[in-house]
Symmetry: C2
Subunit: 659 residues, 2 copies
């Protein structure tokens, strides 16, 4: 309105004067009095528009809140449930299997409505675990593809990359988790809160330990047509003694425990009856492992001290804090990253490590902050009040022993198999890998009936040994059956290898050079021995995929898409008489991993590595780091929670309650 | 702009046509084309304004978020702390007291800056407990009044009225707590995370058990000039066996445990290997106690089942749920309320009970919802899988025993002294009350050195026995020293009693009638015996104050205001040579309680009782209930958290994760 008046004044100078003659007094409202002081006028205009904006913001927010509360009102129902149909088999299951345990062949909800009844006829897909792999897999399935059952001891999935933040209260633990039941509800799936303990592959039964109604653990069998193992891993001990006194950071339970310990230590340190030595020990935080988890945990502890401890605890507590990061390598962040898949449209080359520039940046930041970095150092034992580590003396080259008093030790180095994976691997022939179950490039567990059992994520590793396939490769490539491979046959064989094991691709680039290099006797053909040596060498060069959320999520998505395709192309499979064992190759390419980058928070700053280029910086990078994690949330609910957490921390600081 | 154009069109019909002749094409923008279809036009206008509102809401919210994140950026500092001055006594405290324990005569932060140094010279006020009473007391003190020390095992204060909501995940537990360190920071006070275990009144030392730096409990002495006991109470067992298997709902820890158990029970119930009988037992929720806590817990469990269980668990689980409330009285909500003080400007008469209409309304609501109410019933024993209660047969009048299988039992009836209060009460003469420490109407602990020790909240009860003051009252009133009290002297005495014990006021209304009633020999004067009988009778009529948050908060505020006044009027006290023991009477009236009402949530509905009038209703009452609790939050931080919780529950339902 005002702007109209203003523009009119400029355009119709005569008209404005003329309005006075009009008999309608309202006109003045429109063209208003002249403004002798444009500055004052503009200020007033600005204020008025600010007023409009604020008013409509308030109105808008009120409206939105109002709509939510009205919606809220309708979530309360008085509906009663009467006589839900339940299959007798679900009420009184039969027993069976080698241990004669109850077999869950029907679920309570299986016939509660027609939709469920239809789905209960579908093949049984059982997924063990509720982490990145399992959730990614579920996201690619459609309702009715399978009768899905999810088995997990925790009833929720966790956004693991933010665990270091949750450990010091920057975000709430509950903002990182989403109930698995809400995720499988879309597929009308079933959830069993229990721990997989054994597997009977011959009868397709998964043994699950659940909490019985009397509070004691008991075992049941869950039958499957297809089984996906996605149970993750446990921390590797590296043979170090005393790890039971350490904290880990793999679950939200760990984060809660760390939070309790940190707050306890500050409370104890602020008592005058604590001696200065003890205060120093209580406030000495030791992080073993310079990977992203360790680095972020150290950064978050530093932030906590700088911001909240400074304000609410005696200042001497802040003065006495010391943070130490012990890293076996020469630099921190030189390990493979643990990053989620983002910027889906971009592809990068397969560099799994942070660049050197990034390590350097992080190291400088820590040096400025007074965070002690102990590189080339190895922890040899952990004790309740101190740790012992060895470090090579740079001059003498001798290993020297050192001690740090410690009030808190975080152990975040390496992974190992959990008991279930260990047991399963033991049943299988040719499983030589010590850290995970070996799968082929279609993610099928090697040695298990093909097409029955898959494994994804940290608990799985894709085979890298080409030489173990030597005979079948020769069989296929040796067209003239002379027991030797000539250059043409070798070219065919390379194609097979690449198809079978996409990870070997970059090592098979120079086909001819390779042939000539290993053709020791220069007879223009490779004998079986020469071939074996070559394949062994190439296999050794293939790096296994890192145990990261990014890998697990990509594998989950790959497998989910494949399993979905299996059901929609079932008719065509039957028509072509493709057996169950060959179905994977028929409908899908092998799994290929695309590394999309790595990032880490290093305390009021962040570093990013996208393979070809990397960048790092202060606050703006921190917000970029936050937005990437924000966009990767599993549900809009956790997004809202996370945003609320960040805003609340921004205004009122971290939650310091010891709960 | 559009509105201007519109009004102009009405006013200047000729002018609009005329604009065409003008050489400025912009003009058309101002007066625009005619609108032949007003409906379409208005719709467009409406849409445009909606657009403006939405746009400015988005803009406003973005701006606010932006401002917060900019602020956020400045909360990260790189400041380093060097050489904080600390008193040697705080680093190496001396030992002393009867048990020769370390005495905390100086704190770590006492001389870290000039402000702290000034405050450390002030009298030492030690407050034991961090609940409603303590927090209300702190709110009335000013910076520099005292050297304040807060002793509490928990590092936070809890908004107890919403614990039933937190127990089922309607709100998050962390939204109900506020760190005590943040609350005492305003007063530059000190916090000790520990449990008061003993008191040495002769040396003014409080014995506190803290967690030593080695993880073991150890005791220290905290010296005080003034001590306030505000430790609350524990649940009364009423001599019932098996209460260790019950849940309580007094702390956030209790709420978390209940939440875990409820989710566990639903997980176990949804396993097909659970028998139908066991399923029924697991999903049988028994609440012992029909007070507000019990009623609200039952209502919240009902809500959880109706909304979230229905959606994510097999429907048979919802079908098999049963909720039982066992109440010893004839009606639920007939106990005293546990309400916070709100509507501060209004005063109501002292009716501490919910009205009958409200009980009736709640009972009807529960009957409709299928929540079983067992009134006139008493729990006789609790077992791990069932409870036993007795109920009088309405026909024969005989007590009959009944059993209910139970998967969850909540015990929420009555209070008892905690070990510290019990010990303190044991040291004092004339402490006859069994549930709490007796204090006089100035809230000073009876029998302790006057002006040294106060007690407020659930752990304290104001004396109601007038007869124990008989001799001093007679001494004061018997002007002619004849050992008898005539009507005039009685009138004087009534004034003294009212002054000393404001709670007796309503029982001393009819002064003359009382005198005549007890003057058995009609000699127009009361003998000592007659007087004793009368005062005994009146004392018995005085109801003790209920153990509610409302009472604790009012007592805290009263005492805080008095302690503040004590310091600002210190000079006048010295001038008037008022001893420490008489200072309270000199500067303050005795404590009087004003009951401000009671309210309870009963599942998608709420009831309110403001003494003189009460009201109840559905959703709107629920929102009124929420707003009252919202306005009573201890900090803006918990307000924001609570609002976020309600909004998030409204959109995405309760958090079902079992953590």
């Amino acid at each position: 309105m005002l702007r109209t008046a203003l523009s009119r004044r400029a355009i119709y100078p005569a008209l404005r004067v003329g309005t006075h003659r009009y008999p309608f007094p309202q006109v003045r409202l429109t063209s208003s009095a002249p403004h002798p002081r444009p500055f004052l006028y503009r200020t007033r205009q600005l204020l008025r528009w600010t007023g409009y904006t604020v008013a409509s913001t308030v109105l808008g927010v009120t409206l939105i809140t109002g709509v939510i509360f009205v919606h809220d009102a309708f979530t309360y129902t008085d509906a009663h449930v009467d006589k839900v149909p339940v299959s007798p088999l679900a009420l009184f299951p039969e027993t069976g299997g080698p241990k004669n345990l109850p077999v869950v062949s029907a679920f309570l909800g299986d016939i509660e409505d027609p939709e469920n009844e239809r789905i209960s006829q579908k093949p049984r897909l059982v997924i063990v675990g509720g982490g990145w792999g399992a959730v990614a897999l579920l996201s690619k399935l459609s309702l009715g593809d399978y009768h899905v059952t999810l088995v997990s001891p925790d009833t929720f999935t966790t956004f693991t990359p933010l665990l270091p933040s949750a450990a010091v209260g920057t975000v709430q633990v509950r903002s990182l988790i989403e109930p698995l039941r809400k995720i499988i509800a879309r597929l009308e799936g079933h959830f069993i809160s229990g721990k997989a303990v054994d597997l009977v592959m011959s009868e397709r039964l998964l043994e699950v330990e659940v909490m019985g109604s009397d509070g004691h653990a008991k075992s049941i069998y869950v039958p499957y047509d297809k089984l996906v193992i996605a149970v993750g891993s446990v921390s590797s001990t590296h043979g170090v003694a005393g790890l039971e006194t350490c904290f880990q950071l793999k679950t939200v339970g760990d984060a809660l425990q760390i939070r309790r310990r940190i707050m306890d230590n500050f409370e104890r340190a602020s008592l005058p009856t604590t001696t200065p030595e003890e205060r120093g020990r209580l406030l000495s935080f030791v992080v073993c492992g310079g990977g992203p988890t360790g680095v972020e945990a150290a950064a978050e502890i530093y932030d906590l001290c700088q911001e909240d401890i400074m304000r609410y605890y005696p200042k001497i507590c802040r003065q006495d804090v010391s943070i130490h990061v012990i890293q076996s390598g020469e630099h921190i962040l030189n390990t493979v990253s643990r990053i989620v898949c983002f910027f889906r449209s971009l592809t990068f080359t397969s560099v799994f490590q942070y660049s050197e520039a990034i390590s350097k940046y992080a190291e400088n930041k820590f040096a400025r902050d007074g965070v002690e970095l102990l590189t080339n150092a190895r922890v040899s034992s952990v004790h309740p009040d101190h740790i012992v580590y060895t470090k090579k003396d740079t001059e003498t080259g001798k290993l020297e022993k050192y001690e740090i008093p410690a009030g808190f030790v975080l152990w975040s180095t390496g992974i190992a198999m959990n008991p279930f994976t260990y047991k399963v691997a033991g049943y299988l022939p040719n499983q030589v890998h010590k850290k995970a179950i070996e799968v082929d490039s279609h993610l099928r567990v090697k040695g298990a009936p093909l097409g029955d059992v898959y494994a994804i994520g940290d608990c799985a590793t894709i085979e890298t040994s080409i030489v173990s396939h030597l005979l079948e490769l020769v069989d296929e490539a040796d067209k003239n059956h002379d027991g030797k491979i000539d250059l043409h046959e070798w070219e065919l064989m390379v194609k097979s290898i690449k198809r079978m094991m996409p990870m070997s691709e970059m090592h098979l680039d120079r086909v001819k050079e390779l042939f000539e290099l290993y053709d020791k006797d220069k007879d223009e053909s490779l004998t079986l021995e020469e071939l074996a040596t070559m394949l062994q060498d190439i296999g050794n060069k293939i790096t296994t995929l890192p145990a990261t959320a990014q890998v697990a999520a990509q594998q989950g998505k790959y497998l989910g898409a494949k399993l979905h395709r299996l059901t929609i192309r079932e008719a065509s499979l039957t028509q072509n008489m493709i057996p169950r064992e060959g179905a994977d190759e028929f409908i899908s390419k092998p799994f290929t991993y695309r590394h999309l980058g790595a990032l880490a928070y290093i305390g009021n700053a962040a570093v990013f590595d996208f393979g070809n280029y990397s960048f790092m910086g202060g606050l703006w990078a921190m917000y970029a780091w936050r937005s990437i994690y924000f966009s990767e949330q599993v549900s809009s609910r956790t997004k809202a929670l996370l945003m609320a957490d960040w805003i609340i921390r921004g205004i009122w600081g971290r939650d310091l309650s010891r709960l």
